[in-house]
């Protein structure tokens, strides 16, 4: 008991600080959606009635889904390939995968404009090689946003998945081979199921993280592919409509928490 009291002395002030400085303001802010200026459901009704808000919400979830799928399609083969490398090479490739983290997301996003713009290296090459005579519109649409989010989030999927693949016991694959399983069967019946929890957890993580993106859609979407964060910016800084922002934030928070619960369940199974 003495020990617990001793710990409490250190923990309670931190808990109070968290509560007062973070949690209470968040709750108060979210509460605005039903309490401002007096108890009402009008703001929620407006949210449900105006197609623009629902479109942005839908658009956000769509971008998140596409990003997760593309990250999965690129990330799984990448992690699998990395698993087969020599340990020295693995270190090199892990460093390469991590490299983007060293560069500010803002810089990286603008770099895409240089690379993918109408006058960018990709379009010039395509036209120079005669594949097309007008520049391909990579930017300022959903494609551009998805390229940006995928680029930022790929490591979040690849690294945990690679770690999980390394943990798969080589002897299980050997056992499958002695039991007569051809290579394809070893992959589909043993390796893939064993890597699936980590893979699924990575997909959910990428999905959740995409929901909060602001800079990438703002720059690579050119304002034409608004996501929730961009809309909140407008609702708070331009209009300002705090009550609506609060309602939308509540939806976002609920969705994120629900997905986080899914992620935790899957990740626990992966461990």
């Amino acid at each position: 008991m003495r020990l617990r009291a001793g710990v409490a002395i250190y923990v309670v002030p931190l808990l109070v600080l968290m509560l007062v400085a973070f949690d209470v303001p968040i709750v108060l802010m979210l509460a605005q959606s039903v309490l401002s200026p007096h108890p009402t459901v009008a703001h929620w009704a407006e949210l449900a009635d105006s197609p623009i808000y629902l479109r942005v919400l839908g658009n956000t979830f769509q971008v998140a889904t596409i990003t997760a799928v593309v990250c999965g399609l690129i990330g799984y083969p990448l992690a699998y390939w990395m698993r087969g490398l020599r340990p020295g090479m693995q270190l090199v490739v892990v460093t390469l995968v991590l490299l983007p983290f060293w560069i500010s997301i803002l810089v990286r996003t603008y770099a895409w404009i240089v690379v993918l713009g109408n006058n960018g290296i990709v379009n010039r090459s395509l036209m120079g090689l005669g594949f097309t005579d007008r520049p391909v519109a990579f930017l300022y649409n959903q494609l551009g946003v998805t390229i940006g989010t995928t680029n930022v989030l790929l490591p979040f999927l690849v690294l945990p998945l690679f770690a999980a693949m390394l943990k798969i016991d080589e002897r299980l694959l050997q056992a499958a081979a002695t039991l007569g399983a051809p290579r394809r069967a070893i992959f589909w019946r043993v390796f893939f199921p064993l890597s699936l929890p980590a893979f699924a957890a990575g997909l959910v993580l990428v999905f959740i993280l995409t929901l909060g993106f602001y800079v990438t859609p703002a720059i690579l979407g050119g304002g034409r592919v608004p996501m929730i964060a961009n809309m909140l910016d407008v609702l708070i800084n331009t209009l300002p409509r705090w009550e609506l922002a609060a309602a939308i934030s509540t939806v976002l928070l609920a969705a994120t928490l629900a997905l986080y619960a899914v992620y935790r369940t899957i990740a626990a199974r992966a461990a």
Partner: protein
Amino acid sequence: MGAIEFDGVGKRYGAVHAVHDLSVAVAEGEFVTILGPSGSGKTTILSLVAGLVPPTAGRILIAGRDVTNLEPQERRIGLVFQSYALFPHLSVHGNVAFPLAVRGRPRDEIGTKVAAALARVRLAGLDRRRPAQLSGGQQQRVALARAFVFEPDILLLDEPLGALDRKLREEVQVELKALQRDLGITTLLVTHDQEEALSLSDRVIVLDHGRMQQVGTPDEVYRHPANRFVAGFLGLANLLEGTVEAGGVLRLASGEAVACDPRGRPPGARAAGVVRPERMRLLPESAGEGLAARVRQTVYLGHLQRWHLETADGRELVAAATDGVRAAAVGEAVRVAWSAEDVWLLPDESGEAAAPRPALAAMAPVA
């Protein structure tokens, strides 16, 4: 032609010589154990047979066919790993069904065979469980069922009973032996437990540092060991070193004469004789035969009583007898005696080439 033939097989990992020039044949339906201390290359030999690692020298033949370059899938071998290697994401049923499922067998055939295999290892009713929900002994039996359910030509078992307590291990040994006999399947079992090797197998291969020390029936390797290592690894051994004299006498360094069968060694040859503790008779001090010794320690083993003795010149001897014989107390002066036929002169000892190597060291299959 043996079921498995090793022809000069060697395996090195860099500087480590895990298996060295192994040439031995296992006959059809034979139960052979590979016995050796940790790190002696036992698992490596099984991996070579299973095709999990390629040999760096020699050839391996299965049923007369050179399989040295065949994939594991093509070898029709059931392997029980030291660690079991059960698929954690599959149920007991899924694990045992695996080799049948990847061969595309029809559903009802799989169901029948899996049920029969699980009944055979006494695991019926547990087929919905995951490996993580089983005890070590149950996991081991699942691994065993998975290894024989597809009727392989050869069964390889890597210390399959290591995780079991003594009582369960003895039970499973009996079951394993019965199973092997019923299936008539050629079996190679790895163990570092000499009792297990002696009780289960038709023949024992004794291994040390990747080299085969001896191959023979349990009786041969126990009573007629090829060298000191084999003598010592297969239980306690009293080593008597001396010089052969005419008339079947081994003259020890201390001057005592020990009766023995010199098996053709000329007088004057140096030799080492092995006497097993249970062949040593403990006599009262007044007896007119044997070596004088003093009891230093007694060990009670239930079914056996063991005496650690010290002779006048400081040599240690061990005698053992079934429980119930007259016990000698610590400190008591006694005499130990044995008969000439219980002394086995190690063929590998001494530089003289006089001793013909006994037939038990031959590498031919028994079949």
